[in-house]
């Protein structure tokens, strides 16, 4: 399952705990928001890297946003890569930033695929309660 592969941390479980009858699909909705918003951020990051002279301040700010929303849904690998990226921005290391961006794009694509499969699987196994119990 997705959590054991290290893509998601405890935060994801905390979000699942918040689901109830009034918000049964809360996690899926939040994840959908993240997956809709993050490509835009990645694209802005890519554009900013391509500019000359480099605006590391803006780059750091964009990566900070991505790190924030990623960590809010428990996307630990993305969060960690964002931290590395921010360190490169701080060092004004353009090559490091480029490498980080490529890594992040790959992480993002993998995460998206895994999350989409996860929710699809949850829908297939039936009511939310059964799915949660089977993981315990």
């Amino acid at each position: 399952m997705v959590p054991e592969m290290g893509y998601l941390d405890e935060q994801f479980n905390q979000l699942e705990e918040l689901q109830d009858e009034s918000s049964p699909n809360f996690v899926e909705e939040v994840v959908a928001l993240f997956l809709k918003d993050s490509p835009r951020l990645l694209s802005n990051i890519e554009q900013t890297i391509g500019k000359y002279p480099q605006d590391f301040y803006r780059l750091d700010s964009l990566v900070h946003q991505l790190k924030g929303s990623g960590s809010s849904i428990g996307a630990v690998r993305m969060k960690n890569e964002c931290s590395v990226f921010k360190a490169h921005c701080n060092d004004r290391n353009l090559e490091g930033c480029r490498r980080s961006l490529q890594k992040m794009k790959r992480e993002h694509a993998t995460l998206k695929q895994k999350l989409e499969s996860y929710f699809q699987l949850l829908r297939q196994v039936g009511p939310r309660e059964h799915a949660v119990n089977s993981r315990k």
Binding site: Q14, L18, V30, F34, Q65, S69, G74
Partner: protein, 193 residues
């Protein structure tokens, strides 16, 4: 008059002391006049009394008080949705805005209805710290507790915010336990300001 107050306090306060919310309010309420106001309130007056926690059932009223109203400020949509859910699951009413500027607009329209402000630190144009300063500099708003959230665990930043009057500084991602703990504390602490 003091004897009267003493008798009033004793006769009304004693039975009410068993009510969990009133007891908490009475314990944190250092001003006797505020206590009397709370005990003799009418529903309409309660709604307009900004410094008294509205989390409890007013003994003199037949209506249940509304849950505390929290204003959440964050420029990230994902974070607004998460914090909103966290607060609602702790039974608070929430209004979310995406900037400090909008937060001040909401507050200018009806600050009496806001019992707590929870804001992200890093926001464009007006940071959470700037918003905190504006709130604490305002005679009307300074009584509202402000909590800052940030993904950066910077002691200097934390110190700065607490010195400026922030109730608490939370490291993101914010947990359900953080939210319910701080809301209860922050709202209960309001009469002390």
């Amino acid at each position: 008059f003091c004897l009267f107050l003493g008798v009033l306090f004793y006769s009304v306060g004693r039975p009410l002391a068993n009510h969990p919310c009133i007891y908490k309010t009475a314990a944190s309420c250092c001003h006797l006049a505020q206590l009397i106001k709370l005990l003799t309130c009418q529903p309409n007056q309660q709604a307009s009394a900004p410094s008294i926690p509205l989390c409890c059932l007013c003994p003199m009223s037949t209506t249940v008080q509304e849950p505390p109203h929290v204003l959440a400020v964050d420029d990230s949509l994902v974070d607004r949705v998460v914090i909103s859910r966290l607060l609602r699951s702790s039974k608070y009413r929430v209004t979310t805005v995406d900037s400090g500027k909008k937060a001040l607009e909401v507050l200018s329209l009806g600050h009496e209805s806001v019992q707590l402000i929870i804001t992200d630190y890093c926001m464009p144009e007006m940071t959470g710290y700037d918003l905190l300063k504006r709130v604490k500099e305002s005679a009307e708003l300074r009584g509202i507790p402000v909590v800052i959230m940030s993904s950066e665990n910077s002691p200097a930043r934390i110190r700065r915010c607490l010195d400026e009057g922030a109730e608490e500084f939370l490291i993101k991602p914010v947990r359900p336990s953080d939210v319910s703990r701080l809301c209860n504390r922050a709202i209960a602490a309001m009469p002390m300001r």
